[in-house]
């Protein structure tokens, strides 16, 4: 077991170094593909903090992405802030927003919380569409990254990559610290958690604001990367659902599961986009349906149990009516 642990560490270092140096050998398309994968990995990881650990299903979590994207866009174009400065404001602003909104909304449980976050997503989209500050429905164009397209590719590759590493480290720290235990206790049974002395409100709020922080940073980076955003694009429910799919596929409440899920789903999406443009919703839908039917607890659980068909069917029986 100890041997495997050591080997696992080597494996991680190897993968880290691989991704660190791989842009030297790749061309634009692959770099952009990897950047996209990292981006979804951060999103899945941040959804994992609130939904996987804390059990609060923020299906509309994508609104933090939109908030981050729009904060960066507005600050850079209308107030000519530098990128990093507006990024920081976006991240902490979204965290603060999560705390403020979380106070009333995190009191809701289960389905109600889920539906409230979807409502917030729609509300923010409509508000953004109607504000003149945000450019309304026409969207907003950001300044182009100085230094040309290939420099931009490298910059955003490393931006998303280090954001992903940061989110992994943060989740790892959470899973080992007393926060993680509190989060899991809340997920398991909130009333019981408060009986043993865990006050759920600050922990839930903390989990959501960490999640908001990473999601908003991703959104801010995305806005500068794409140089054009509009409300219909950044406030979508679809990427939110994709994030959940990645989390469930990789294993909710694990550190690296959502990352693996994100890589897998993004690769599939990319293949599907290229080959079957007209069918890509259908295929994504089928993947969703098949994943929740056959691996409701994720790949890791499946591998632990062994991959025999009889066990797969047994897994189905557990949730069947």
């Amino acid at each position: 077991m100890g041997n495997w642990r050591k080997r696992k560490n080597y494996l991680f270092v190897g993968i880290f170094l691989l991704f660190l140096f791989v842009p030297l050998f790749l061309r634009g398309y692959w770099i952009r593909l990897l950047t996209n994968m990292f981006m979804f990995a951060v999103l899945a990881e941040s959804v994992n903090i609130i939904a996987g650990y804390c059990g609060y299903l923020a299906l509309g979590n994508m609104f933090f992405f939109g908030l981050g994207a729009y904060t960066v866009a507005v600050l850079m174009t209308k107030f000519s802030f530098p990128f990093y400065c507006s990024l920081l404001i976006a991240g902490f602003g979204a965290s603060f927003f999560a705390m403020v909104v979380g106070l009333p909304i995190l009191r809701l449980k289960g389905q109600y919380f889920l539906m409230a976050t979807v409502g917030l997503l729609e509300l923010l989209r409509e508000i953004t569409t109607n504000l003149s500050l945000t450019g309304g429905g026409q969207g907003i164009t950001l300044p182009i990254f100085p230094g040309g397209a290939s420099a931009a590719n490298y910059f955003f590759y490393y931006y998303m990559f280090f954001l992903m590493i940061l989110s992994i480290l943060c989740t790892f720290y959470i899973s080992k610290s007393h926060f993680g235990f509190a989060f899991r206790a809340i997920k398991f049974d909130e009333d019981a958690a408060s009986v043993i002395g865990i006050n759920p409100t600050p922990y839930k709020t903390l989990a959501w604001s960490i999640s908001a922080f990473f999601t908003a940073l991703t959104g801010g980076g995305y806005a500068y990367w794409m140089t054009y955003i509009d409300p219909g694009e950044v406030y979508q429910i679809m990427p939110s659902v994709k994030m959940y799919l990645m989390m469930v596929l990789g294993g909710a409440g694990t550190v690296l599961g959502p990352i693996a899920g994100a890589f897998f789903i993004e690769l599939i999406s990319e293949l599907v986009w290229g080959k079957f443009l007209e069918l890509h919703l259908l295929i994504l839908g089928l993947v969703l349906v098949l994943v929740v039917i056959f691996t409701p607890k994720g790949f890791i659980d499946l591998i632990h149990k062994g991959l025999s068909p009889s066990k797969l069917l047994l897994g189905i029986k557990a949730n069947k009516v």
């Binding site: 299903l57 909304i105 993947v287 409701p296």
Partner: protein, 287 residues
Amino acid sequence: MLIQVLVNGFLQGGFYACIGVSFSIVFGIMKIINLAQGTQIILGAYITYTICQFIRIDPFLTLPFATISLFFLGYFIQKYIINLVAKGGLVITSLLTFGLNLILINIALLIWKADFRGTNPWYMGMSFEIWGMTIPYVRLIIFIIAILFTLSLDFFFRKTETGNSIQATALNPKAAQLMGIDIGKTYCLTFAISSAIGGAMGTLFILAKPISPFTGGDFLIILFSVAILGGLGSIPGALIAGIILGMVESFSVMFFGIEYQKIMLNLVYLLILIFLPKGLLGKRFYG
């Protein structure tokens, strides 16, 4: 002017109540958030559209076709897909219904393309006047049919044996099973009824507005708000809630303009969730 806005909201509210009920029964009875319900409504509308294209009959006459075909679609979806994961919890069922939503949207895209489609019967723009209010015939008929559907569903749940067995399953699935109720079948029936009402409402919707495969997403907030404001699974509650929402919509158009209509609806929805999560007539079952 004021009374006209009131009437508009009232007529729109009947439709909202009925689509809300179709969502609310699945939510209340199976604890499943059916994110595909909007697209099921759209499928009903497309059935009407297709029939009207081939044989030029009155769109209202296609109502039974849309209802029955969506009934069977819903039954099969529940039997062969959703029942497999119905006990899997919130993430699993929500992801599943969203996946189904994507599949249905893509099928609609393949068959009917992304253009907006509508029916245009000859009585489309006609209206009558009473006490200074203008009431379009189509709106009034839509309202009446929607209310009839809602009331007959209420009757079905309260007075028939099947309806009672569905309610028993909602109350306590295990106890219902001990009483000899087949839960799988009950779930299928519930979902099928929900889809059927959705299909019927689709027929009514395409009479009022043109649709595209993505229109279904616009219903989401209305479905949520009616279900929550009315109280889970409560049909009279949903009726009141639908009419309140219709009023909110038409008054926000009057006071703030059409671009704030959705903002107001969303805001009201969130306030309802925060301050009134049990709804107007929602009762907690103590089974």
